[in-house]
């Protein structure tokens, strides 16, 4: 299954300043990929996700979802504004209920999804409005998973989470990515969160797709393509070390390899210092 965008443009008419939110964006995402949608605030990330989820009709261009064997689901960004059910369980069951599934299947999907997002069982019968911000994110994620998506789209999922909350979400998404075998597209302006979770990065600036590449390659070309955009901290650090003459690889393929470079340098320096 794949989602294919061909020359997608979206123009918003608003006030005296109509906004070209997307300008001829073309790309393809395949099932099983974990892709980052990276760019500054207002670069068109949310618009692109809404087009992919079929929630917004583009002004021009073609969207095709080929070999459809499951839905494309966009998890809601501000769950506290979207909740309407009396309990977490009912909230998560709402989507599957509209698919006319039998009650046992709805029940099973709810249980599976709530377990996958790691929401404590005693919260399942609570009103979602009464949960903390981090827990509400989990409910919104569970509601999306209960639809058994082939593609899960997330829009700025770390907004409002603190350090431990963000780390817990990253681990949950990593687990879901492997266990649910779904395509993941995560939009964020935070390169460090995206770097740990995704292999491929789409860089969107001012509604235009500026890069479609790996994080390692993006770190090399970012300065020339979009100097205002941050690169993942670890890659920036390795680059600086390499420029200072340290024997490190400046663009390792994975975060694990980046850490290994740093630990190796540290070990070698310590040995050198002792000798």
């Amino acid at each position: 299954m794949e989602i294919k965008l061909e020359e997608i443009s979206v123009v918003y008419a608003r006030g005296e300043a109509p906004l070209k939110a997307l300008n001829k964006v073309s790309l393809t995402i395949r099932a099983g990929e974990a892709v980052a949608l990276f760019g500054p605030v207002g670069s068109g990330k949310s618009t692109l996700l809404q087009v992919m989820a079929g929630l917004l009709k583009p002004t021009a261009g073609r969207l095709s979802v080929c070999g459809q064997d499951g839905p494309v689901v966009l998890a809601i960004q501000e769950p506290q504004r979207g909740f309407f059910a009396a309990t977490v369980r009912e909230e998560v069951a709402f989507g599957p209920e509209n698919l006319d599934l039998d009650p046992a299947e709805i029940e099973a999907r709810g249980t599976g999804a709530l377990t996958a997002v790691g929401l404590a069982r005693e919260k399942w019968e609570a009103p979602p409005q009464r949960l903390s911000g981090g827990e509400q994110r989990r409910v919104a994620l569970a509601a999306a998973l209960a639809m058994k998506p082939r593609f899960l789209l997330l829009d700025e999922p770390t907004t409002g989470l603190d350090g431990p909350g963000e780390e817990a979400l990253r681990q949950t998404l990593q687990r879901i990515k492997t266990e649910w075998a779904l395509g993941l597209l995560v939009a964020s302006h935070d390169p460090d969160f995206l770097y740990m979770l995704t292999d491929r990065v789409l860089v969107l600036v001012g509604g235009e797709l500026r890069a479609d590449t790996t994080w390692g390659a993006w770190a090399q070309e970012a300065a020339a393509v979009a100097p205002d955009l941050q690169i993942p901290f670890l890659l920036g650090l390795l680059r600086r070390l390499a420029e200072a003459g340290a024997p490190v690889q400046a663009a390792p393929a994975t975060p694990a390899a980046a850490w290994e470079e740093l630990f190796r340098l540290r070990r070698e320096r310590e040995k050198g210092g002792a000798g």
């Binding site: 918003y12 608003r14 006030g15 005296e16 300043a17 500054p40 605030v41 207002g42 949310s46 501000e78 903390s132 911000g133 981090g134 700025e156 907004t159 409002g160 989470l161 603190d162 350090g163 431990p164 909350g165 963000e166 302006h189 460090d192 205002d228 955009l229 941050q230 901290f233 670890l234 920036g236 650090l237 600086r240 070390l241 200072a244 003459g245 340290a246 850490w259 740093l262 630990f263 340098l265 540290r266 320096r269």
Partner: protein, 269 residues
């Protein structure tokens, strides 16, 4: 003259809820100072922010602004003139149907001529880069633009004390720098600020830091001192600057590392 801003043994319990409020907080602020309140989600930060501006009344203790108490309904209007709050979710404060009406809303209650109001509104729209959007609906803006509008709303009122609750949560580095610069301007104007956040990197320039956990003040001091206590800071649910996190993971503990230059120096030079 009455002290500028004081919290005396302030506590707040949410009615009928086990949710943590805040417990016996003491605090005094001099004019022109920048205080950071650091804490994890759910630590009581937002409750404390609402207590500081009179949106919540303490269940015990007192919040005093130039001698006026938030507990006293007749005195609240004096407090609203002196203390402004920028909420964590910008939409929570929007009331008008266009961007310029939104900025004008508070200013219109200040006994100014319509010309003076116009001037204030235009100046704030320009300051926050919103002039081209003045006829747009506040809810049609992007996340970052909404944040700028929520700041313009409060800026236009020139409060002596501005409270900002996680103001950078939805912004990219460019917008963050712009806001950090604007917030520095406040200080040179003699205005004061309390910045509520879970992210230490945002408030390294603060004059003083107060750490709050489960509704209680658990630490006070200078921001730099927190860098040397990485384990404890993480346990409070506070994010350290990325360079400090990496330094700590690599076992570099000789001196506090805040930025990438110091980290490069510690690893190689």
């Amino acid at each position: 003259m009455a002290r500028f801003f004081v919290l005396e043994e302030v506590s707040y319990c949410y009615p009928g809820s086990a949710k943590t409020g805040v417990c016996q907080v003491n605090l005094e602020l001099e004019p022109g100072t920048f205080l950071a309140v650091l804490g994890a989600n759910g630590s009581g930060k937002s409750t404390l922010a609402r207590l500081c501006c009179g949106l919540l009344k303490p269940t015990a203790g007192r919040v005093l602004v130039e001698g006026y108490s938030t507990a006293n309904d007749e005195e609240l209007r004096y407090i609203y003139q002196r203390v402004g709050i920028v909420f964590q979710h910008p939409e929570d404060q929007f009331v008008a149907s266009t961007v310029e009406r939104e900025v004008a809303f508070g200013v219109e209650n200040q006994n100014l001529s319509s010309r003076a109001i116009r001037q204030v509104v235009d100046a704030e729209l320009a300051r926050f880069g919103l002039t081209a959007l003045k006829t747009a609906h506040p809810h049609s803006l992007s996340g970052g633009e909404k944040r700028f509008l929520s700041l313009a709303d409060v800026w236009a009122l020139q409060p002596k004390l501005i409270l900002v609750d996680e103001p950078l949560a939805m912004l990219d580095p460019g917008a963050r720098e712009r806001i950090a610069r604007l917030l520095k301007e406040l200080k040179t104007n003699g205005q004061s600020m309390i910045w509520f956040t879970h992210n230490l990197a945002e408030v390294m320039a603060a004059d003083q830091v107060l750490v709050i956990a489960a509704g209680r003040v658990v630490w006070r001091g200078q921001p730099a001192a927190l860098l040397a206590m990485a384990g404890q800071v993480r346990a409070w649910g506070i994010s350290l600057p990325p360079a400090t996190q990496v330094a700590s993971a690599l076992g570099i503990d000789r001196s506090p590392v805040v930025n990438v230059d110091e980290l490069v120096a510690a690893l190689w030079k």
